[in-house]
C-alpha cells in the first residue's frame, strides 16, 4: 500500500489478545449453557430414536399432508446457511471493508446450519436406515438414483454446498490456526498444528491463499444461489396447487438471505455482549446489517406480493382454496403474525436510521424475522398440501 497506517504497534497485539480471549478463558456459566444444551440435544436424540423404532407416524403427519415440520425446518436451516455465504461471500466480492468482523460469525453459521439441515433430511426419511440408496455408486442391488428427481438435485446441491462452505470456512481460518498454534499451549495445540497446514506467513503462502479465496468466493456465491433455487424447485416443479409456481426459486433465495442475515445479527449481538467485542463490532455494523435486512425485506415482500397477486387475480379455484385458507381461513392467525414479523415490523423499524444504530433493536428484529420465516416455511408446506385438488380429503395438520 502506498500510505501505510502509522504506528500500529500497540493495536495489533490488542487484536490478538482480545480475539483469542474467548478461547483461553471460560466462565462457569459457559459449562452451564453447554450442559443445558446437551440435555436438550439428548432429549431430541431420544425422540428421534423413538421415531426410528416406531415409525414416522409419531410426527402426526397424515395424508394428504406428507411433508411437515421436518421439511420446513430443512428449508429454514438451509436458508439460515445462506447467512455466511451471502454476507461474507458477497461482501468479500464487493470488497466491503466493514465485512471484516462479521465474516467469521457468518461462515460458522453457514457450516453449522448445513449440518442441522442435513440432519432434518434424515429425520424425514421413512426408512432412514436405507438412506444410502441415494448415493450413486455401483452396487449389488442394481439400484441407481433417479437424477430426474428434484430430491436428487437437492441431495447433490446440499452436498456440494456443504463441502464448499466447509472449505470456505476453513480457508481464512488457516492463518488464524497458525496463530493459535503458536499462542495456545494446551491439548488443542496438536489440533491447530495439523489444521494450520504448516502455515508460516510467507508471501508465497499469502499469495496462494488469497488466490484460492479469490477463486472460491464467486463460485460459492453461485452455489448458494443454486442451492436454494433447487430447494425452491422441489416445490415449484410439483403439481400441488400453489406450489406450482415459477417464482419459487428466487423467492426462496431471497427468503433464505433474509433469515440468514437475521441470524447473523443475533449472533453478532450475543457474541459482542458476552465477549465484550464492542471495539470490533460497532454500531456501524448493526447499521449496515440493518440496511441489508431492509433490502431483503423489500425484495421478499415484492416477490411474495407478486406470488399472491397472480394467484388471487388468476382466481383458479384449486389455488384460491389455499390462498383463502391463508388470508381468512384456518391458517389466518399464523399467516398474519408471519406478515407482521417478516415484513411490517422490520420495514417500519429499519427505515429509521436511529433505530438501526441500536444493536439491541436490530437484534430483536433479527429474532422476529427468524420466527416469522420459520412460520412462513411451515405455511409454505402445509396449507397447499392440505387442499389437494380433489376436495374429498382436505385435512390440515398440527405438528406433534
Amino acid at each position: 500500500m502506498t500510505n501505510p497506517a502509522p504506528a500500529d504497534g500497540p493495536q495489533i497485539p490488542k487484536i490478538n489478545r482480545d480475539l483469542l480471549e474467548p478461547l483461553l478463558s471460560t466462565h462457569w456459566s459457559y459449562f452451564l449453557l453447554v450442559g443445558a444444551l446437551a440435555g436438550l440435544v439428548a432429549a431430541g436424540a431420544g425422540a428421534w430414536s423413538y421415531q426410528f423404532r416406531t415409525g414416522i407416524g409419531q410426527t402426526n403427519l397424515h395424508p394428504p399432508v406428507f411433508w411437515g415440520v421436518y421439511i420446513a425446518s430443512f428449508i429454514f436451516w438451509v436458508g439460515a446457511s445462506h447467512s455466511g455465504t451471502f454476507i461474507s461471500g458477497v461482501l468479500r466480492l464487493t470488497k466491503a471493508e466493514w465485512r471484516r468482523p462479521v465474516t467469521r460469525i457468518a461462515e460458522l453459521m453457514t457450516f453449522i446450519s448445513l449440518i442441522i439441515a442435513t440432519l432434518f433430511v434424515f429425520y424425514h426419511l421413512g426408512r432412514v436406515w436405507r438412506w444410502y440408496y441415494l448415493i450413486p455408486y455401483p452396487n449389488q442391488r442394481e439400484i441407481w438414483p433417479n437424477f430426474r428427481s428434484p430430491l436428487m438435485w437437492d441431495a447433490m446441491a446440499v452436498f456440494t454446498y456443504a463441502t464448499a462452505s466447509t472449505i470456505y470456512l476453513y480457508l481464512p481460518l488457516i492463518p488464524d490456526f497458525a496463530l493459535m498454534r503458536d499462542r495456545i499451549e494446551d491439548w488443542r495445540k496438536p489440533l491447530y498444528r495439523v489444521l494450520s497446514l504448516g502455515w508460516q506467513g510467507t508471501q508465497h503462502q499469502w499469495q496462494v491463499l488469497e488466490t484460492a479465496m479469490r477463486i472460491i468466493t464467486p463460485l460459492i456465491v453461485m452455489v448458494m444461489v443454486s442451492v436454494h433455487s433447487i430447494v425452491g424447485w422441489d416445490f415449484g416443479v410439483s403439481l400441488v396447487p400453489a406450489w406450482h409456481s415459477t417464482i419459487f426459486a428466487p423467492y426462496f433465495v431471497v427468503g433464505a438471505v433474509h433469515s440468514g442475515v437475521g441470524l447473523v445479527v443475533i449472533g453478532m449481538y450475543i457474541l459482542r455482549k458476552v465477549y465484550h467485542l464492542e471495539d470490533y463490532i460497532g454500531q456501524e455494523h448493526f447499521d449496515k446489517m440493518g440496511k441489508l435486512l431492509l433490502l431483503t425485506t423489500l425484495g421478499l415482500a415484492y416477490l411474495y406480493f407478486a406470488e399472491l397477486l397472480t394467484i388471487w387475480y388468476g382466481n383458479i379455484p384449486d389455488h384460491m382454496w389455499v390462498v383463502d385458507s391463508l388470508l381468512s381461513g384456518p391458517f389466518a392467525v399464523p399467516f398474519w403474525f408471519m406478515v407482521a414479523c417478516v415484513y411490517v415490523i422490520p420495514l417500519l423499524a429499519l427505515t429509521l436510521p436511529a433505530f438501526r444504530r441500536r444493536p439491541l433493536g436490530v437484534m430483536v428484529i433479527g429474532v422476529l424475522i427468524n420466527i416469522g420465516m420459520y412460520i412462513e416455511r411451515v405455511l409454505l408446506i402445509v396449507p397447499p398440501l392440505s387442499y389437494p385438488r380433489l376436495p374429498f380429503n382436505w385435512d390440515t395438520y398440527v405438528p406433534s
Partner: protein
C-alpha cells in the same frame, strides 16, 4: 527448492509493518541474492511485497480443469447412466436436458472448488518447506525478512547493512539445526494429520454401519409365513405362480422350459453352457468346486441344452 541445510548463513530481520519491504527486496536482489532465497513473513498479506513470489500459481487453470471434469461427471450421472438403464418415468425423457444442466452445474461447482482447495493445500505445504523461523513478534505486528546466503565472505555483512538501512529493529543469524528442526516438526504434523484423518474415517464408517433393518426381520413378515402349510414332498402346486400345464408336454417342451428357468436362475454363475464361467462365478470363493460336476462329461447335466 532451496536446500536450507547447505553451509551458509541465514539472516533473520524484523521490521515494523510499515517498513519499505519492497524496496529492500529489490536492493537485496541487486546485491546478488537470488529471489528464491529471500523470504518475507508477515501476519497479513503485503500486497506490495509481491516481488518475492515465485511464478504465477496455476490455480485458475486447475479450477477450470476441475470444473470441466465436474461437467463430465454430471453428464455421466444424469445422461450417461440414464441411457444404460432407460427407465421412463412420468413422461419425462430418459435424458432430460434441464436435469442434466442442474446436475452438471452442481458437480462442476463441487469439483472446481474441491480441486482448487486441494491444489491450494499442496502449494501451501510445499511453500512451507522453505522453512523459516517463526517469531511470535510477527503476529504482534512485525514483518520478518530472512535471507539465505551460500557462504560468500562479504555477503553477510553487506546484507546486514542493507537490512539495517531499511529499518530493521532486530537482526539475528539463524542456526542451521534450528531450521531443520522446523522441517521435522512439519513431518510430525503430517503424521498427526494422518491419525486424525484415520480417526475421522473410522467414525464415519461406524456411523454408516450402525443400523440395519429389513422387512424379513420383522414379526409382520413372519405372520405371513406362519399359516402356510408345507405341501407333501414331490407334489405339484395347482394354482401357484409356478408354471404347470394340464396338457401333456413333450420332452422338447420340457427341455425348452428348463432352459428358460436355467437362463433366469443359473447362468450367472454356471455360465451359458454350464461351464462354470458365468459373470458372477469369479466372485465366488470356491467356484471350481461348485461347478465341477457340470464341467465333467459324465455329469447328468444335459449338454445338449446349448442353443
Amino acid at each position: 527448492m532451496v536446500d536450507v541445510t547447505n553451509n551458509g548463513t541465514t539472516l533473520f530481520a524484523l521490521f515494523e509493518l510499515s517498513a519499505p519491504v519492497k524496496a529492500l527486496v529489490e536492493k537485496l536482489q541487486q546485491a546478488g541474492i537470488p529471489l528464491e532465497r529471500i523470504e518475507v513473513i508477515s501476519p497479513l498479506p503485503l500486497h506490495d511485497a509481491r516481488v518475492t513470489s515465485p511464478p504465477r500459481i496455476p490455480l485458475y487453470a486447475l479450477t477450470m480443469t476441475g470444473g470441466f471434469a465436474g461437467i463430465a461427471v454430471g453428464l455421466f450421472f444424469a445422461a450417461g447412466t440414464a441411457l444404460f438403464y432407460p427407465i421412463m418415468t412420468g413422461g419425462k425423457p430418459v435424458v432430460a436436458p434441464p436435469v442434466v444442466g442442474i446436475v452438471s452445474f452442481e458437480t462442476m461447482m463441487l469439483l472446481a472448488i474441491v480441486t482448487t482447495f486441494v491444489a491450494m493445500v499442496i502449494r501451501l505445504r510445499r511453500g512451507s518447506r522453505h522453512a523459516v523461523v517463526r517469531d511470535s513478534r510477527i503476529d504482534d505486528g512485525a514483518v520478518a525478512v530472512s535471507v539465505q546466503m551460500d557462504g560468500g565472505d562479504t555477503q553477510p555483512a553487506a546484507v546486514e547493512a542493507l537490512l539495517r538501512e531499511a529499518g530493521a529493529f532486530e537482526i539475528k543469524p539463524v542456526r542451521k539445526d534450528r531450521v531443520r528442526m522446523r522441517r521435522d516438526a512439519g513431518k510430525d504434523a503430517e503424521q498427526e494429520g494422518l491419525w486424525l484423518w484415520l480417526g475421522c474415517a473410522a467414525l464415519a464408517l461406524s456411523s454408516i454401519t450402525a443400523y440395519s433393518r429389513d422387512m424379513e426381520e420383522q414379526a409382520s413378515y413372519q405372520s405371513q409365513e406362519a399359516p402356510r402349510r408345507h405341501s407333501p414332498p414331490g407334489s405339484i402346486p395347482l394354482t401357484s405362480r409356478a408354471i404347470v400345464s394340464s396338457a401333456p408336454v413333450t420332452p422338447d417342451e420340457q427341455l425348452a422350459a428348463g432352459t428358460r428357468v436355467f437362463r433366469i436362475n443359473c447362468v450367472h454363475c454356471h455360465g451359458p453352457e454350464g461351464g462354470g464361467d458365468g459373470p458372477v462365478a469369479g466372485y465366488l470363493r470356491d467356484y471350481r468346486k461348485i461347478c465341477r460336476p457340470l464341467m465333467s462329461n459324465d455329469s447328468p447335466w444335459p449338454l445338449s441344452m446349448r442353443s
